[in-house]
């Protein structure tokens, strides 16, 4: 069997194992889904009037604020889901079965690829669920073309893949699931420090670079542009570059950690 078909076959076997885990024990996935949904409801219904008044400069307009924050929350959902990935990878590495996999003549990275593909599927599912809640409370993206919708979906998958590979590295680098959950915190903190909730120009000057030079802001601006027709500018390429960079970095980091000698 050629290397490629071996890799595909073993990875799909590992993916099935991970999906089986996720289906048997869905509580973790659901828990992580609650955070973005709660933030969405909180910012729209509790802070919504004040926030929209501050951003728009005019009177309160809750509908406009929904439109503003939904793209950010969709990507925050991705960040939240990948925390679960870091935890489940760390948990998995404590299992004896992983030692067994290492002694078998299988495509080695398939163990990790199974986690990544499973996690990306979960991200997509979670985003669809959070998106459904957003639509239910009044979010609309009716002006977007089919092409823009496809691009938005592509961005979502790319962004999920990038964060997931980083999360897998974090999971492998952590001695236990608790530590993994701590080290993966930036994945849910970064969107809070991005243009998800308020525009960059409304932040204090010294802080703007922090919000600007991180993966969430260009990805959010791109998604916002695709769904709502706002200007994307150079953010599209920036977002793609961030995603590819993080995915490649995460892949090499994770496989190096996985291939290293075990104690």
């Amino acid at each position: 069997m050629s290397t490629i078909s071996l890799a595909v076959r073993d990875s799909s076997t590992m993916l099935r194992r991970n999906l089986l885990h996720a289906r048997r024990y869905p509580s973790m996935t659901l828990n992580l889904l609650l955070t973005p949904i709660m933030l969405l409801l909180l910012f729209v219904y509790i802070f919504g009037d004040t926030m929209s008044a501050g951003i728009g400069g005019g009177g309160p307009d809750r509908a406009k604020y929904i439109a503003y924050i939904v793209p950010g929350l969709l990507l925050m959902t991705v960040g939240s889901t990948t925390i679960g990935t870091a935890v489940s990878v760390a948990m998995d590495m404590t299992e004896g079965i992983i030692a067994r996999f290492r002694t078998m003549a299988i495509h080695r990275p398939s163990v990790l690829i199974g986690h990544v593909v499973g996690s990306v599927l979960q991200c997509v599912l979670s985003v669809v669920l959070v998106g459904a809640v957003a639509v239910a409370i009044g979010f609309r993206s009716t002006d977007a073309t089919v092409l823009e919708w496809l691009a938005a979906f592509g961005l979502l998958v790319l962004f999920s893949t990038a964060l997931t590979w980083i999360a897998v590295g974090m999971g492998l680098g952590s001695p236990n699931p608790e530590a993994a959950s701590n080290s993966a915190m930036p994945l849910i903190l970064l969107p809070l420090l991005s243009s998800a909730f308020v525009p960059l120009h409304s932040m204090p000057g010294w802080f703007q670079p922090v919000a600007e030079y991180q993966p969430f802001t260009p990805a959010i601006e791109t998604l916002r542009g695709l769904l709502l027709g706002t200007g994307i500018g150079h953010n599209g390429w920036l977002a793609v570059a961030w995603c590819v960079g993080l995915a490649v970095l995460g892949y090499f980091w994770s496989t190096a950690k996985f291939n290293a000698d075990q104690k």
Binding site: R9, T13, R17, L20, R24, Y25, E95, T103, M104, A105
Partner: protein
């Protein structure tokens, strides 16, 4: 060297400045059971981890070949030839026993029908059919270990590493496991077994190597090793001092314990030797009130084999069988 299933020369491994394996040689012919015997921390698990490609040997080691393939240059070929059942169960607790088996079948790239058939046969053979649909985390220790071995056998490996396969099992489960291991070898499989029980090595192994502080301090068949071990004896105890005195004078070669009114005769504990001792006692007219057979255990082996470094003369903890 090519006709050996496992061949290692000068296998070395240290973690930081802690030397775990200090250049051990291992040679295991095809179709035999080799046992690495030693206490906790002797380096047994490290040896298994190296031979099963989990960790790499230190650069100072000689050539290591498993199943005819070099460990250093062709680890993937070694992996295709071996099966490993570790000390800590290598089953996926979150999925059912059957799913674990099918997972192995898929990873060995068996066609779907064959995978199902193999899984069902092995579950049946290891008496797990009833529990097949339950999550493996709900299994008892013995069941987990059986599932573990069943999973190892899916790929039909020719060389199997068993790292302390019976540690933590109750006596019945332990005897089941011994039976399973014997059956494996009748099928021509080579077994590399680690254990801390002399009795287990004695029951199963064709050759035993005693590992102590990262060195092999003795190697041979169970019989050869036992000959190295003093401490096996028959103990005769008397209640009547007069009977004790007359027996002691009749049995001059016996070691005396005047306070306990007991005599000790060297013996390997075998039926043949016990019978000759009994015949001899009869002919000498000696009648003890109590006769116990002391067989050497691992403690004795270690005290005997490492006597130069640490020096307890006699184990005070021999296994006893009261007759």
């Amino acid at each position: 060297m090519t006709d050996l299933a496992i061949a290692a020369n000068g296998l070395r491994k240290s973690y930081g400045d802690k030397l775990v394996l200090d250049g051990i040689d291992i040679a295991v012919p095809h179709g035999t059971i080799f046992s690495l015997l030693g206490p906790n921390g002797a380096g047994k698990t490290t040896a298994v981890k190296i031979l099963s490609t989990l960790v790499s040997a230190d650069s100072g080691s000689g050539e290591i070949r498993v199943g005819g393939h070099s460990l250093a240059t062709d680890a993937q070929a070694v992996r295709a030839a071996i099966g490993v059942t570790g000390q800590f169960s290598a089953v996926d607790g979150l999925i059912t026993g059957e799913e674990n088996m099918l997972l192995m079948a898929d990873l060995h790239h068996l066609p779907k029908d064959e995978g199902r058939r193999t899984a069902a046969e092995l579950l049946e053979r290891f008496d797990l059919t009833d529990a097949a649909k339950k999550p493996a985390s709900t299994y008892s220790g013995g069941m987990k270990r059986r599932l573990d071995i069943a999973m190892t056998l899916v790929g039909n490996p020719r060389i199997i590493f068993l790292d302390e396969p019976t540690t933590g099992l109750d006596p019945r489960a332990r005897h089941n496991m011994w039976q399973i291991i014997r059956e494996l070898v009748t099928g021509g499989v080579t077994v590399f077994l680690t254990t801390q029980y002399l009795e287990e090595a004695d029951e199963l192994a064709d050759r035993i190597a005693v590992l102590h502080d990262g060195r092999i301090v003795a190697e041979g068949t169970a019989e050869e090793l036992k000959r190295l071990i003093p401490g096996g004896h028959v103990r005769l105890r008397f209640t009547d001092p007069a009977a004790y005195q007359s027996a002691a004078s009749a049995l001059r070669e016996a070691a005396r314990d005047d306070e306990a009114l007991a005599l000790q005769l060297p013996s390997d504990g075998s039926q043949r030797e016990l019978r000759s001792i009994l015949d001899w006692l009869d002919s000498a007219g000696v009648e003890a009130d109590e006769l116990t057979v002391h067989t050497p255990d691992l403690d004795d082996v270690f005290f005997a084999l490492t006597a130069r470094t640490d020096t307890p003369e006699n184990s005070e903890n021999p296994k006893e069988a009261v007759r």
